[in-house]
Symmetry: C2
Amino acid sequence: MTGKATMDSDKTLLFDNQVCFPLYSAANAMVRAYRPLLRELDLTYLQYMTLMLLWEQPQMTVKEFGARLDLDSGTLTPLLKRLESKGLVTRERDKLDERIRVIKITAQGKALRQKAEGIPAQLACNIGLDKKEAVQIKQMCQRLLQSLAED
Amino acid sequence: MTGKATMDSDKTLLFDNQVCFPLYSAANAMVRAYRPLLRELDLTYLQYMTLMLLWEQPQMTVKEFGARLDLDSGTLTPLLKRLESKGLVTRERDKLDERIRVIKITAQGKALRQKAEGIPAQLACNIGLDKKEAVQIKQMCQRLLQSLAED
DNA sequence: CCCAATAAAGTTGTATACAATTAAATTGTG
DNA sequence: CACAATTTAATTGTATACAACTTTATTGGG
């Protein structure tokens, strides 16, 4: 047995050496940065991303949302109900397969897109990364995601 | 007025062009990856990071936790109460300033550190990034955090 | 010394995340 | 066709996040 198990100065357990915690904090900070901008649309960050999908493709199933957003029905069902109660989507059943819930964007949901158009530019100003860095961090996160997705 | 406001093909509102969403998803996936490892310690990721701070410095105030974890009392108070109810910390008042809550790690909390020693190595195996990439993503997130912290 | 301003935590209410379980519909196989 | 296995969502319970507000204690100016 090596001394590792009883080594008291194991640097891998030092807070400032954690790789993942900055990721966690940065994600929280990012959502916080979006909040004042999305407030005017009365949307949360996740609701905003959900609508963004529907601005590209006017209807989607819960399962498809799960695949795109990497979230399960435990998160999605209440999320979609809230969007429904705001009048931004409808939640119908698939006529051919009653298990499937088909989410469709409403006219009101589509109209929100206009109000959202300034948001990406506004956030880019705050975020303080140039385009190259932005692409890098995006690719790095995507690589990380792929690695973590491999069961 | 430019055509921008009415431009329908604004690429900045396309889901797959979002820089921040991979960050958001990667943070979620990271917490998910930790979960099975932390399950044996009966800790959540945030509880684990909180204890990690106390393994280095045996007592800390709520305010100090807030500065290190970038979280407010609305998150920290219930978190610390849960750690207290597990017997891992105590929550005393500062004798000299009764506003201040002093959190101290217990013997039981210290003992958990031994059980945590394998976690960093186990996670590094799953995470699929080499050391250089890990450092890069960490630095990028820290840069992002700094930018977002500038009010 | 008094008391307004400030500081530190705590509380309340809303919205994620997600494990574990359940419910309902469909599919596949004998 | 019967029915077990599978698929798709929904539900339940726990733990973050955080805005907005409240409570309690301390500080600082007059």
